[in-house]
Amino acid sequence: MQWETVIGLEVHVQLATRSKIFSGASTAFGAEPNTQACAVDLGLPGVLPVLNEQAVAMAVQFGLAVHADITEVSIFDRKNYFYPDLPKGYQTSQMYHPIVGPGDVEITLDDGTTKRIRIHHAHLEEDAGKSLHEDFQGMTGIDLNRAGTPLLEIVSEPDMRNAKEAAAYLKAIHSIVTYLGISDGNMAEGSMRCDVNVSVRPKGQEAFGTRAEVKNVNSFRFVERAIAYEVERQIELIEDGGTVVQETRLFDPDRDETRSMRTKEEANDYRYFPCPDLLPVVLDQAYLDHLRNQLPELPADKRARFESELGLSAYDASVLSASREMAEFFEEVHQVCGDAKQAANWVQGELSGALNRESLSIQNSPVSARQLGELVSRVLDDTINGKAAKQVFQALWNGQGKHADDIIEAKGLKQVTDTGAIEAMIDQVIAESPAQVAQYRDSEPEKRGKMIGYFVGQVMKASRGTANPQQVNGVLKDKLDALL
């Protein structure tokens, strides 16, 4: 039996507003428990919600970035259920008229092919507080700091067919929201959480199988693992004669498995109804146009431009456009030095290597884009050779100078290109290496190429690395051949 996997993702993105979606309390991460929950967040008697316009703007920007219809009149609905981390006993969400309608996202797979994943809708809602089940002697601690944080819930159509596609979709969403600056996308901190809906069906069958929902998966890798486990579990279950139950499951990364969350209670009836404390959100064309004009260049467009206009390879374009910070860093380096390919090499190579070794993000790079751009310019104009450039980079990294030029000057790394000087150095080396010269003269012509390396090395040593290697090679060959 051939099986097909069907996957849909619901991604909850915490929007990076300064205050909560319905109150003025702070959304800053990491505060002491219950210090960032005001009367409104606590659901005290008599309080009322007031909508944070920034959350609306961010939702709209997301919608525009995924080519979605923006709902002209959207409504907040109450989702009613009881849980200690839900102070009002209902969550204000959007059920019937979400702010963002159907849209789509293009994902790029490892083999370079692209696929269009449809978005069903995206809606605004408030986050609940946190329940902490450890450290409280068998009880549960409730931290309401998170209660009221704005969430954008992005619901995809079940268009994904394997874990790789799911991961690519998730990365694309992550890329868009970080590019727009509407979320820091920090999955470890809970700024982005994913519910994964997985089902299987026999290949060729049109009807979907019963799906299981794996809730709150908080890394790309765990999403792939959860899918892998689920698919195997469901197929085994069906092949053994069982049926898949529609249920909520949790992914346990330590055991690399999903487990059922189902309790004895029946499924909740949330009794959604329009929240009478909030007005309908009415958006006019002028507002949408204003936000559209403020959209930055989006990842897909940037990647395409890097390829077509800057001539970068698909791979390079993809890596450099992965995050807005990376792309803007690269663009500044390019702007300073003028050579896209060189800029790409240096950013992806030397810089990324150093950043990775010290676990730094590009925003915290000790070498700025301008500094790197200046360095690359000096390579391009032959002021220094590649080896010297690496030294200059290291020096910039260690804060030994503000500009490449200062370091080049201080360390005497300026490339020697003067032919006379090079000839003089070569003459010197030849004079000091009679044995090697003899060996060169006595060898077969085919073997001589390898021996040049020794002389080049000596010249580089004599010049303390500053001689232009290409020139040295050329002049050296001529001079050695002249001795034959």
Binding site: L48, N80, P276, L279
Partner: protein
């Protein structure tokens, strides 16, 4: 002093005839002496009141007095008052000290008024007789065997008995107008959105509105001046300027077009109430108004629509009372479900439970469309009825209630209690303003005339009510109780 209106007392304070301290002490003494028989107060804040009175007198001496500086009043126990118990008439909030002031409370305080305490009410504003309070029933000062009406029964009784010159109430289906009628005082429900709901413990969010209850329309105008206006903390409050409601009180009435909805004069209306209302209308005719019959065809759907929508919203608004963060919590809960079920079973009274059940049912899957959606559609038709009527006439008039105040314990069947709201309830569904003014007596119990206007027509309503009170003296009458307990 206790037979004086707010307007008269303000003048006396201004002229120096009285001090705020004298005034406040006087009413505090009356409350202490008489309220044992009425049970209109849940909390009396005597110390704070006297301190505020001193401060008011000082402010006046320094030339910093506002029009209402030093005027004592009371607040229905549904308004959050910082540092003061706010029970909403319920065991669920018997231990709740509000950590903040409602906007209305802030405004009244900034205007210099002095709260003497929190008045009794039907639990969570659900009731029409003030018999549903955890703190016991309130008595009607006109007849201690009668109900004062509800849910703002405490406020109405206290004003009628001269324990305070004015009080704030709230009105979701008639809870200011009906008790005002039963107690022979004037009560105004403003247009939905005219007054901020921030800090008012929510019952039905799309229907609740706060308003003044006092001895005269003029008093209500002064108080509305203070409490009306946009509040950024209440998204449903209107960003609309507040006129001076006292300025237009004396505008002449000639040419006023009055409509009498024929549906308000049908079966079930007590003949004495009808007579009093029709006599009142004749007074208006003598003042130059014209009268005609109009129709509000969907009137008989108002009660069913209300008793779907209000409980639905209430069932959601009351979910926060779960014993976790504040309010009543059961002893020794064994687990989460036990915590929830016992705290709520113990904390809520019968009527509150009844409405939560109704509301949960009407919102649930399979019933939502038939009940909730349908009721909202009917609501739109009811609203349209009023708008259509106001195309033909300026104001509508009718009885505030089908009967005068009934006896305590007389209405055991919830539905018969619900039917008490028949003339008031559609007004909240439509969001229009309404005022009840005293218009006579039947069997020694007051009768109220209800006057309705279109959205934001409070100035006209107050003018129309005030003119009636210039031509009649029903509103000046005091119950014997008020004099017996001097």
């Amino acid at each position: 002093m206790h037979d004086k209106t707010v307007t008269q007392l303000a003048a006396a304070l201004k002229s120096g005839e009285l001090s705020s301290r004298e005034l406040t002490s006087h009413f505090l003494q009356r409350i202490e002496k008489a309220d044992g028989k009425l049970n209109s107060f849940i909390t009396v804040t005597a110390e704070q009141a006297l301190a505020k009175a001193e401060a008011a007198d000082k402010a006046r001496a320094a030339g910093n007095a506002e029009p209402l500086t030093g005027i004592p009043l009371a607040l229905k126990d549904i308004f959050c008052t910082q540092g003061v118990k706010t029970s909403c008439g319920s065991k669920m909030l018997d231990n709740f000290i509000a950590p903040y002031d409602a906007t209305v409370v802030e405004k009244l305080s900034a205007a210099g008024t002095i709260s003497l305490g929190k008045t009794n009410m039907d639990e969570f504003a659900m009731g029409s007789s003030n018999e549903n309070s955890y703190y016991g029933a309130v008595k009607n000062p006109w007849d201690l065997s009668a109900v004062p009406g509800g849910s703002s029964g405490g406020s109405a009784a206290a004003v009628a008995a001269g324990l305070i010159p004015a009080a704030m109430g709230t009105d979701t289906g008639g809870s200011i107008r009906q008790p005002a009628a039963f107690c022979g005082i004037t009560g105004l429900k403003p247009t939905y959105g005219r007054v901020s709901r921030y800090g008012i413990i929510a019952y039905a969010s799309s229907l609740d509105q706060a308003g003044p209850m006092a001895r005269s329309a003029e008093d209500c105008a002064h108080l509305l001046n203070v409490i009306a206006g946009h509040d950024v903390r209440d998204s449903t409050s209107m960003a609309r300027g507040v006129p001076d409601y006292t300025e237009t009180l004396n505008a002449p009435l000639s040419g006023l077009k009055i409509g009498l909805p024929k549906e308000y004069f049908g079966d079930g209306l007590d003949p004495e109430v009808e007579k009093a209302v029709r006599d009142a209308v004749k007074v208006y005719e003598s003042l130059g108004a014209t009268v005609r019959e109009v129709s509000l065809p969907h009137t008989h759907y108002a009660i069913p629509a209300y008793y779907v929508i209000a409980p639905a919203e209430a069932s959601s608004n009351l979910s926060r009372y779960d014993g976790v963060r504040f309010g009543h919590r059961c002893d020794d809960p064994t687990d989460l479900i036990d915590l929830y079920t016992r705290s709520r079973a113990e904390g809520f009274g019968e009527e509150v439970k009844r409405r939560i059940l109704i509301g949960t049912h009407t919102l649930s899957e399979g019933f939502f469309d038939a009940y909730y959606t349908k009721a909202q559609k009917v609501r739109r038709l009811i609203r349209q009825d009023f708008l259509d009527a106001f195309q033909e006439v300026d104001v509508l008039m009718g009885p505030a209630s089908p009967t005068p105040a009934f006896d305590l314990g007389a209405k055991k069947d919830p539905v018969s209690m619900y039917l008490q709201d028949i003339y008031t309830i559609a007004v909240n569904l439509a969001g229009i303003p309404g005022i009840s003014v005293p218009a006579g007596f039947a069997g020694g119990r007051p009768i109220g005339l209800q006057i309705l206007g279109t959205h934001f027509a409070e100035a006209q309503l107050l003018n129309v009510a005030h003119q009636f009170q210039q031509a009649t003296d029903w509103h000046l009458k005091l119950p014997a109780f008020a004099e017996e307990n001097a």
